[in-house]
């Protein structure tokens, strides 16, 4: 049956099998949607930056609003030191947002509903932030695990908790996005299946649910991209401005 709600997350090969040293890097539907998302972003923002109107047209306004939105987000969380990382945060937010949003189209594949994708992004952020922290503060970065004003008796416990919470960052970051996307899409599929199985008589209720869920999922798609980006900013802030 095609009503298996997990079926939509299947990855399959498109075109020939590509292998380098026994490692399969074939072009799949996931790759296709990554490419589509990237091209979409590039086309929109290229169109939004070509003309230099003093009074912007719609697409230029969109690009400029997104720019100032992300720019404000970074300066609010990481301060002025976060400015060099603007390009990365911007790309990250837009990539996640467009992958989430394109996943909302019927029959589309949601790239971010795969743990491996979100984990790679989160792990990259984690490693990058850690490297930046050690480059900026040297071994002083380890002070992050020793909050000031804690009684000495409690210090070992606090340090252990801090280390665990720091190490769990990539996991929480990746699982949050992946689980949100997968749960939402699964639920939509389930309710869609109910519409068919309950038919004309009882199908209206799940249909209404489906409609409501679609709205909720669009909200979640934006919110999770925002959360992903802002958490990256907060981690970056920890590395750039050592507060503890």
């Amino acid at each position: 049956m095609a009503t298996n709600p997990m079926h939509q997350f299947n990855v399959y090969r498109i075109g020939p099998e590509i292998k380098i040293d026994q490692i399969d890097i074939s072009f799949t539907n996931a790759s296709l949607f990554m490419v589509i998302s990237s091209l979409f972003i590039l086309i929109i923002f290229n169109l939004g930056s070509v003309k230099k109107n003093i009074i912007p047209n719609k697409i230029q306004l969109l690009a400029e609003l997104s720019y100032s939105f992300i720019s404000k987000m970074i300066s609010d969380t990481a301060g002025s030191k976060g400015k060099p990382y603007f390009g990365f945060i911007f790309s990250l937010f837009m990539f996640v947002l467009f992958c989430n949003m394109l996943g909302m189209l019927p029959y589309a594949f949601t790239v971010t509903s795969h743990i491996i994708v979100t984990f790679v992004l989160a792990a990259f952020i984690f490693i990058g932030v850690t490297v930046i922290g050690f480059l900026k503060h040297g071994l002083g970065y380890l002070k992050l695990f020793v909050p000031s004003g804690v009684p000495i008796v409690l210090l070992p416990l606090i340090v252990i908790i801090e280390v665990i919470s720091y190490l769990s960052r990539p996991i929480s970051l990746s699982v949050r996005l992946f689980a949100n996307m997968m749960a939402g899409h699964t639920m939509m599929k389930v309710f869609g299946g109910f519409v068919i199985s309950l038919g004309l008589v009882g199908g209206w209720l799940p249909l209404g649910f489906s409609v409501a869920l679609t709205g909720l999922e669009i909200l979640v798609a934006f919110l999770q991209a925002y959360v992903f980006a802002i958490l990256t900013c907060i981690y970056l802030n920890d590395a750039l401005n050592l507060h503890h």
Partner: protein, 196 residues
């Protein structure tokens, strides 16, 4: 809270469908490592490409546009303020000019009035003098006439009475008697004719 709820829902759905479609379900495709490497490879490729193009070419242009607009707006505001100050100065200048010219006009008017009044006064004085002179002359003449008139009247009266008598009676009466009567009469009536 939200996370917990989502996780709970997720787990219950998984449980429900792994029971319902237990036979054909392959579990979560996400946990199938078959295409993990491919996904990582394409993620790095596409995201790297996106990042490079965005941060090298597109974002600088957008930031440039924003800066350009900001600076242009600031410039416009500056010029607007400058022009405002300029116009205020111009208005002040204009007002002082108007005031000055008003004062000048008033001065001119006053001067002209003074001059005219003086002129009129002079002319009036002159005319008054002339009139006074005339009046004096006239008075003199009148006085003279007053003085000489009784004699003349008497003379005329004498002559006319002589003529009348001659016409009436046809006889000539000597003048001295007539004049004596006339003088007598005129003396009697003097108050009547020349009463002042």
């Amino acid at each position: 809270m939200h996370k917990k709820l989502v996780l709970y829902l997720f787990l219950s759905i998984i449980a429900f469908f792994s029971n319902a479609y237990g036979a054909e379900s392959e579990g979560m495709p996400q946990l199938n490592p078959e295409f993990w490497v491919s996904q990582i490879f394409w993620l790095i490729l596409t995201f790297g490409f996106l990042f490079v193009i965005l941060s090298k070419f597109i974002l600088p242009k957008i930031s440039n546009n924003l800066e350009l607009r900001k600076s242009q707006i600031l410039e416009n505001i500056e010029t607007a303020e400058k022009q405002k100050i300029e116009s205020e100065n111009k208005i002040k200048e204009y007002e002082t000019l108007i005031n000055n010219s008003k004062n000048e006009a008033r001065n001119y008017f006053n001067e002209a009035r003074k001059k005219i009044i003086q002129d009129i006064d002079k002319k009036r004085e002159k005319i008054e003098e002339e009139i006074n002179l005339e009046i004096q002359n006239a008075e003199k003449e009148i006085v003279e006439l007053k003085k000489s008139s009784p004699e003349k009247i008497n003379k005329i009266a004498t002559e006319t009475s002589a003529q009348l008598i001659k016409q009436l009676i046809g006889e000539e009466i000597n003048n001295s008697s007539i004049s004596a009567i006339v003088e007598d009469l005129s003396k009697k009536n003097k108050g009547k004719y020349y009463g002042n």
